[in-house]
């Protein structure tokens, strides 16, 4: 074999090796996940689970808590580090190691860490993720392990968002309420009075019809969330004893028909059905849609991406589904995984980072609302500037007492709600009528619920 050939082959092999390694590294979860092969790698590590968990460190030794958050770095580095330092000063012997993860990777990363026996101690999760993990017995029951004093600082409605049976699995942290942001220019083009934003969904619909007619643009993008919408409309969804599903009610039917009509008439974009979280914001900042219902904290995105649209943006309260009804609060929680080896210290820190002082300080640097009673009562929430962001703050604070995070309070909630989500989309696609959809969803949801109740 010639020398040249050999060195070429060697080079080629090296390149392939490197590209393979690189491919594995970047190994988009999709690569690894698209066959049933992957979970094997996690099994391997589970075997070591129990061993590490048992190695409880003696109490007097210094404790290091691993604290994971969702998308807070680098914007809030100073705030989080400042709070950690204060906590460490107050509690000598405990150190906190903070890791921030992007929203999308939190769930998988947490899962693999728990499976690998290297669980973090304090973790920031939304209500959905909390409920899924709680259903798998992966989280500490705070009604059992936290003190009454620690539990009493939160709004009871928010604290009970993660209730499953008699257990509660998270301390509520911050939340954002949506506001109704709308483009003054488009409203004027349509001949609507920009000072009269809609207060109910019906008004919003009527305005959308006019906007569509006059400008050809859409009035709004519906954010379909049938379970939460039903819940806030007064549809029970589940009975008190968590045994019966009730979604086939007149209120639900009315809402379904209302939405179907809107969709069929082309008053809202057909793509709203498949829209992801960014869709409405993208279209709003492109000036293609007259209004945007968004968390006040996300308005800064419009500001960065489309200054002209932002300058024409006015803010109003979210139109309500029914007068005086509750509104959805997308809550962020703090949990302690069962696999943590320092439950007591972890709960102490989880409580600290969500206490009145910590939350008030946090709310002052970003447009969010606190979940604790004292912090929410602070005068800060009534002082307003004139820019859209600061108006949004005051408006959401006024709505704070209406905030509630919807959850069914049963294990595998997602499985139970799935038929409703699916039925809703089938209905909008014209595959089933609203009546059929509700009937079918109720039956299928009941079946899933029965399965879950039977497996306990």
């Amino acid at each position: 074999m010639s020398k040249r050939y050999r060195s070429f082959a060697l080079l080629l092999a090296m390149v392939m090796l490197i590209s393979l390694i690189a491919a594995c590294g970047s190994g988009s979860s999709s690569d690894k996940n698209n066959t049933a092969q992957t979970p094997g790698t996690t099994t391997e590590t589970t075997n070591t689970n129990t061993d590490t968990a048992k190695k409880e460190e003696p109490k007097q030794e210094p404790v290091e808590l691993k604290f994971w958050t969702i998308s807070l770095s680098p914007n809030f580095d100073d705030y989080i580090n400042g709070r950690i330092k204060k906590f460490e000063d107050e509690n000598p012997g405990i150190t906190v190691k903070w890791t921030d993860l992007p929203y999308g990777s939190m769930e998988n990363k947490l899962l693999t860490s728990i499976a690998g026996g290297k669980s973090p101690d304090v973790v920031n999760l939304n209500t959905g993720m909390t409920m899924t993990l709680a259903g798998k017995n992966a989280l500490v029951d705070l009604n059992k392990e936290a003190t009454e004093e620690q539990r009493s600082i939160y709004f009871p409605d928010l604290y009970n968002s993660t209730k499953l049976g008699e257990s509660v699995y998270a301390f509520p942290w911050y939340y954002g309420l949506s506001v109704f942001a709308y483009n003054k220019k488009i409203y004027e083009e349509a001949g609507l009075d920009p000072n009269k934003p809609p207060t109910t969904y019906e008004e919003m619909k009527q305005q959308a019809i006019i906007i569509k007619e006059k400008t050809g643009k859409y009035g709004f993008v519906p954010t379909y969330n049938p379970p939460a919408d039903f819940y806030f409309l007064g549809v029970p969804i589940i009975s008190e004893d968590k045994k019966t599903i009730i979604v086939d009610t007149p209120e639900a039917l009315e809402w379904a028909k209302w939405n179907k009509d809107l969709y069929d008439q082309g008053i809202v974009p057909k793509d709203s059905l498949s829209a992801d979280a960014n869709y409405a914001t993208d279209k709003y900042q492109a000036g293609k849609i007259a209004s945007l219902t968004t968390g006040a904290q996300f308005l800064s995105r419009v500001k960065t991406n489309a200054k002209d649209v932002y300058d024409n943006t006015l803010i109003a309260k979210m139109p309500t589904l029914k007068p005086g009804g509750n509104v959805q609060a997308g809550l962020m929680n703090v949990v302690v995984p069962t696999m943590s080896t320092h439950h007591k210290e972890a709960i102490l820190f989880a409580n600290f980072i969500t206490n009145d002082e910590s939350q008030l300080e946090f709310c002052k640097i970003v447009n969010i609302l606190p979940s604790t009673k004292k912090a929410a009562a602070d005068p800060f929430f009534t002082q307003a500037g004139t820019d859209p962001e600061s108006q949004a703050k005051v408006i959401t604070a006024q709505m704070a007492s209406m905030g509630k995070d919807f959850s069914l309070g049963v294990k595998n909630e997602g499985d139970v709600l799935d038929p409703l989500w699916k039925g809703w989309k089938e209905m909008l696609n014209g595959k089933v009528t609203p009546e059929e959809m509700l009937k079918k969803a109720q039956a299928e949801m009941q079946k899933k619920l029965d399965e879950i109740n039977a497996s306990e």
């Binding site: 988009s28 999709s30 698209n34 769930e107 693999t112 082309g266 498949s274 989309k425």
Partner: protein, 298 residues
């Protein structure tokens, strides 16, 4: 037969070259497969205690409407195979000509292959949107009156994704076919031409039969790819295969039950069923496409 010193050295060298690839395959493919098998018989969830559940997961799959929907979609997806093969053979024949700028065309056709699927899928999503470029062209051409929602219509969504798969795969198969075309001895084609065969006759009776081993390889690869399709659906329609499971394929469903619901045991069972399905397809393909290549004339 004893190897000469030089041959032995070459063999050693060959093995040395193979080692890195084999190690990676063992660690990232074979070991996980072996671990995945028993998982299908447990309720493994990564966080909760694991119990042996026997065939319960398989039983659940057969009674799970979502599983059947995903299976139907995956099998339906195989219709991309003939389309992709036909188009890529056509493209290969085209770029096999001595055209001007032929290298430019070859490169251009190959670009989708090296483009990241995530980026491509997002771009295609824009193409398919209501105010996307496709609707724009259709409206300008007067083919449609109002925009069609290729993303939200349950009857169209899966076909939209198929377009992405076809677009992305064409260049790859074209390259394989091009290599195939260039391996066909030109004497055969010239002889046929002298005997009075027309252009299409040459392609049909000489080129295609001789290309059969390549067709077979490419079909096999693309059938497997089609059944396992994941990335484009995940990016365009999310882990639930929206709208309302219209784009839910078995791989996406496996991902959903494993990594969203944490039912790794059940996920492994579904994955196993799909692997068996792919195996059946492969065997069928092997059986019916064995003829071809030089032995076509034997």
């Amino acid at each position: 037969m004893a190897l000469s010193k030089e041959q032995a050295r070459q063999t050693r060298f060959a093995y040395a070259m193979l080692t890195p690839g084999i190690i990676l395959l063992i660690v990232f493919t074979f070991i996980p497969i072996v671990y995945g098998l028993p998982l299908a018989f447990t309720n493994y969830s990564a966080v909760d205690t694991t119990k042996w559940v026997g065939l319960k997961n398989f039983d659940r799959a057969f009674h799970d409407p979502d599983f059947w929907v995903s299976l139907k979609n995956s099998i339906l997806y195989v219709i991309v195979v003939p389309v992709i093969q036909f188009l890529s053979i056509l493209m290969a024949v085209l770029v096999n000509n001595k055209l001007r700028f032929v290298n430019f065309f070859r490169t251009a056709y190959f670009i989708p292959v090296v483009t990241s699927m995530t980026a491509a899928a997002i771009a295609w999503k824009w193409v398919f949107e209501e105010d996307g470029i496709l609707n724009y062209f259709l409206e300008v051409a007067g083919i449609i009156d109002g925009p069609i929602s290729f993303m939200s219509d349950m009857n169209l969504a899966l076909y939209g994704v198929m377009c992405v798969t076809i677009w992305k795969g064409l260049g790859y198969y074209m390259m394989i076919y091009l290599a195939g075309l260039q391996s066909i001895p030109s004497e055969l084609q010239e002889a046929a031409k002298i005997d009075g065969a027309g252009r299409w006759k040459v392609i049909w009776h000489i080129t295609i039969p001789l290309l059969m081993p390549f067709v077979m390889l490419c079909s096999l690869l693309s059938v497997m790819g089609a059944i396992r399709v994941f990335d484009e659906i995940f990016v365009m329609h999310g882990p639930k295969g929206d709208p309302a499971s219209a784009t839910l394929t078995t791989s996406v469903y496996t991902y959903k039950i494993s990594f969203q619901d944490y039912n790794f045991g059940y996920g492994a069972a579904v994955g196993l069923v799909v692997s068996l399905l792919i195996m059946v397809f492969t065997i069928l393909l092997f059986r019916y496409t064995r003829r071809g290549g030089m032995n076509y004339y034997e």
